[in-house]
Every structure is written in C-alpha cells, then in structure tokens.
Symmetry: C2
Amino acid sequence: MKLLDIYARYKKDIQYIESELEKNVHSDHDILKETSIHLLKAGGKRIRPVFVLLSGKFGNYHLENLKNVAVALELIHMATLVHDDVIDNAVTRRGEQTVMAKWDNKIAMYTGDYIFARALAVVTQLKDPEIHQILSKSIVQMCIGEMEQIRDFFNTDQSIRNYLLRIRRKTALLIAISCQLGALAANASREEVRALYSFGYNVGMAFQITDDVLDLCGTEKQIGKPPGSDIKQGNITIPMIYALQESDLKESLLFLINKIKQNEDQSDVNQFIQLIRNSAGIEKAEALANQYIHKAIHQLDQLPDIKTKKHLHDIANFVLSRKY
Amino acid sequence: MKLLDIYARYKKDIQYIESELEKNVHSDHDILKETSIHLLKAGGKRIRPVFVLLSGKFGNYHLENLKNVAVALELIHMATLVHDDVIDNAVTRRGEQTVMAKWDNKIAMYTGDYIFARALAVVTQLKDPEIHQILSKSIVQMCIGEMEQIRDFFNTDQSIRNYLLRIRRKTALLIAISCQLGALAANASREEVRALYSFGYNVGMAFQITDDVLDLCGTEKQIGKPPGSDIKQGNITIPMIYALQESDLKESLLFLINKIKQNEDQSDVNQFIQLIRNSAGIEKAEALANQYIHKAIHQLDQLPDIKTKKHLHDIANFVLSRKY
C-alpha cells in the first residue's frame, strides 16, 4: 500500500489537523503570518501527526484529545526545521525557498521561536502532566542533538555510534514520542504505549538514515533541495562514515571534504557524491535502515490485530523505500 | 533603601534560586555547559525571580513552590537575551562578551533554544494549568514583540503608542507575570494577584523606558555595553521619538539616523546621542517612566501592609533612579 493510500484512510482527520495547524499559527502580525503560512504550505509528510492519530487507534480514539498532541508535535517539528535551515544556510526545502532565504536569518530565528511558542500554547490544553514531562525532556534532548550536529560538522573522525546518538536526538526521539503520546492520550495500555514508542523510535532512526542516503542518491526534484547539501554544510552522515572506512577511498574523500569545507565548490561536491555512490556506503546504510525497520515491525507483534497495525506496517516499509 | 539592601533581606532564598538556576542549565555537552555558565556568571539583576519571591509573600510563602516559577521565568528571560543579541549583533552585555560574540550566531541560537527548553522542563513541575496557560500566552506575545522590533528597525515614523505596545510585549509582560505567577503559586487572593500583575506591568514599562534612557545617557561602565547601541541597531526608542517631534531637531536627527544606518560610524552615533541629550526627549521619557512607577506604587495600596510591600515600593523607586 502506498503512503497516499494509507493517508486516504484517515483523510478527514488529517485534514482536520491541517486546518488546526493553520488556525494555530495564525497571527495578526504581517511577517509572522507570511512566514508561518509559507512554512505550512510547503507541506511535508506530516508523519508525526499521522503517527499520533494511528497510535491513538490502539486506545480510545477521540480526535479532539489527539488533535492537540498532533498539532503541538508538528509545530515543534516545523520550528526546529526553521532553526535548522539557519544553521545549515539552507536555501530550499521541499522545493520551496526557506524562511531564512526568502526573508533572513533573524526573521527565521524568531519565526522558529514564534511557532514553538504557539506549540506550547497548544500543549497547555493537555491535562496529563506526564505528556508535558515527556515533551519537555525530549525538547531538551533535541536541542542537545542540534548542538552536537554543529560540533561534529566536518569531523571526519566520528564513529557510527556517535552518528546514531546524534540522529536519535535529532530525529528519532520526536517520532518516537509522536507514537507514545498518541497512545497515552488515548489511554492505551502501558505495554501498547511502550511498543508504539519503540516502533516510532526505530522508524525514526530508519527515516533519518534514508534521508541521509537520499541526500546523496536522490535528484533535486525528489528531495526538494540540491543533493549533497549535507556535505556542503559539513554534516558527515552514515554512508560517508562507511565509505571513509574503505582504505582505498579514504584519502580521496578526506581531500575532497577538505576542499568542500574551504570553497563549497559544486564540482567537488559532485565528485564526492560520485565516490560515495561507488563505495559500499550506500548499501551498508540501506542495510542499517532495513534493520531498524525490522525492529520497528517486530514491535507491532505486541499490538492487537486491528487494521491500523497493518497501516503502521506499511508506513514503516514506505520509510525504507521512499524516494522523497 | 538600596536595591542591594532589599536583596540582602531575601539573601538566602535568592542564593537558593541562583543555585537552582545553575543546576537547571547544567549539561554534559561541552559547548552548552560553557555558554550557559557564561550567561549565568554574567549575572543580571534577577528582578524576575525576586518579584516571584516577593509576590509569594502575599500568600502562603513556600520556597519550594515558588522556586520553579522563579527559575523558569529567569531562564526564559535569559533565552530571549541570547536570541536578542543575535538580532542586535550585540558584542557585549553586562560588561561581558555575548554568546554570539564569544562563539557565533548559530551557537547562540541553539543556546537560547536549549535554555528555553530547560525552562520548559522546569515548568512541567508546576501543577497549576493556569500558570502554564499564562506562561505560554505571554511567550507568544513576547515573540510577536521581538518581530515587531525587527519590523520597526529604523522606522522613524513610529508613534509613541507603537513604542509602548512593543515594550509591553518585549519587557513589561514577563515582569508582570513574574509578580502574577509568584502570587498565584502562593495562593494569594484574586485581588492581590491582579494588583501584583499590574504593579509588575507598570514597573516593567518604566524599566524598559529607563533602559532606553540609559542607552543614551549612561557610560559604558554603568550599562555594561557601549552607549548608543540602540540607534546603531536601528531601535528607535522613546527619547528619540520625543526628540523627533522637535521641529528644529528633526532634520538633523533624520540625517544622522540615515547615516548611521548606512555606515554605523561611531562619530555619527556620538553626535546623535549629543543631540538627543540636548533635546527634551530624555526629560520627557523620564517623566513617562515616573508616571508608570506612580501607577505601580498606587497598585500597592490594594495589598496588605506587610514588610514586603515596602520592599516592592523601594524596588519600584530603584527602577526609576537606576544607573545600571
């Protein structure tokens, strides 16, 4: 089943979340209105809200209860993207200009702050203190992850463990708690909440790994930004770490990385991408993503056999094979 | 009574808050640890935590209950300062290098995000949903205020009302809710909570106005940063708005503002400062601050006659006469 077919099953509820997102970033302030709407319209897979809704199906599914969790998580995600784009000097995302490019860094910083603040305003509607605690702890971890990313820029000496810890904080955690909080808000059992958290965590890890592969193997049309963005900003991803382990490639790769660091020359970036594609790095990274997806699917065994379980299974498989 | 004498009365509790602040920004991450400790050590008047504590005296004063409110508000304030310094290209604050200058803009952005996230982690310890709602709404307003400030940079056409709305969001609101939330957390009566909110609001307005006066009349040693920082970054403050109303000054002021906008030349800034000092702008701004302090003190009439009331009165007067 394709992602869109799965989404179609929950179309009405997803559309409702979409309209709530719009409502919640609304501002009378001109620039904030423009930047926020610009971000919303650029779209995205909305995987976090979708995971909230689907996880909620394992408890007492009440859209009104789940809505605030879904909206808050997507807004938090959006806010981090805007700040990420500042750090990465990213000019396009999802085929659209970034806020940082269309306006400037400062506007982007405050747009991120604003959207984040709006997310908090939504969070305050939630009554369960456990949800608040899980959220705030995760946000702290996400910030640490972002700082780790800055620290590790152009660090060609980093271990696989280092990379995995970083993407855990940067990506997997928020996807994990999307499942966890959806289940919690629907009063699913402790075991189900745990299984869904673990499902989300493993899907999230795979999601980031495939993202990092796509940045090296996708076309600009597929990924909505120029390929090689990672290495240009110094983000050493898992296919690169694997490739750097190949003794016949290491020297040329280090030479190119150093050149890219100095000049950001596109021909160097293209040459670098070609070298990685010819290495075993891509295949190994895909195998690792595959492992995570298997672990994720394995978690589903602990859940009752409802239709939604099949849909989670399908989304996990989509993450592995996705080209966008 | 001097500010330090008032603080001395609450020394033990203020020191406790200080140690809690340190505990709460602690990170195992090297850069975050350094930037956060750097910020804490740079000090500040800690007026928000002090207002939380003093307002708590009008209800059932339990330091453990008030602690989380005080720490959260000061951390939120610190986070906004770090982001402000990015916007303002500020190199020094409180006589110390800013995070943005000592590290860079990107580190400063994430340090702000991190400290803010830590503030939220503290907020989750608070049980009262009303406190959460007040906080999140205020944070949204503060973000809007920051955006308004960017929008209004070098706008020499702005009204006094525009300025007042901006500093209300930028400064007065957080000081107002410091009083409000301190009283709420101590279960003070609704009337007392309202009076303290209004007290804080008016003190906060006066605080920002005197800040804006000091930027034009203080020495670098007094204010911990070079005078004229406001006009250099395009921040048109109330003494300037008043001075621009003087027909014999307007043209020279507009000419200088335009030159400063182009070149940021220090001699133009000095000449500009001199013109404002010679205008009625400073005096009028001080009179306005005075009015706010009077309104603040008037609010105290509604509060019972405990020692703390006298201390709030003294702090309000300090805000008016402060040179730092």
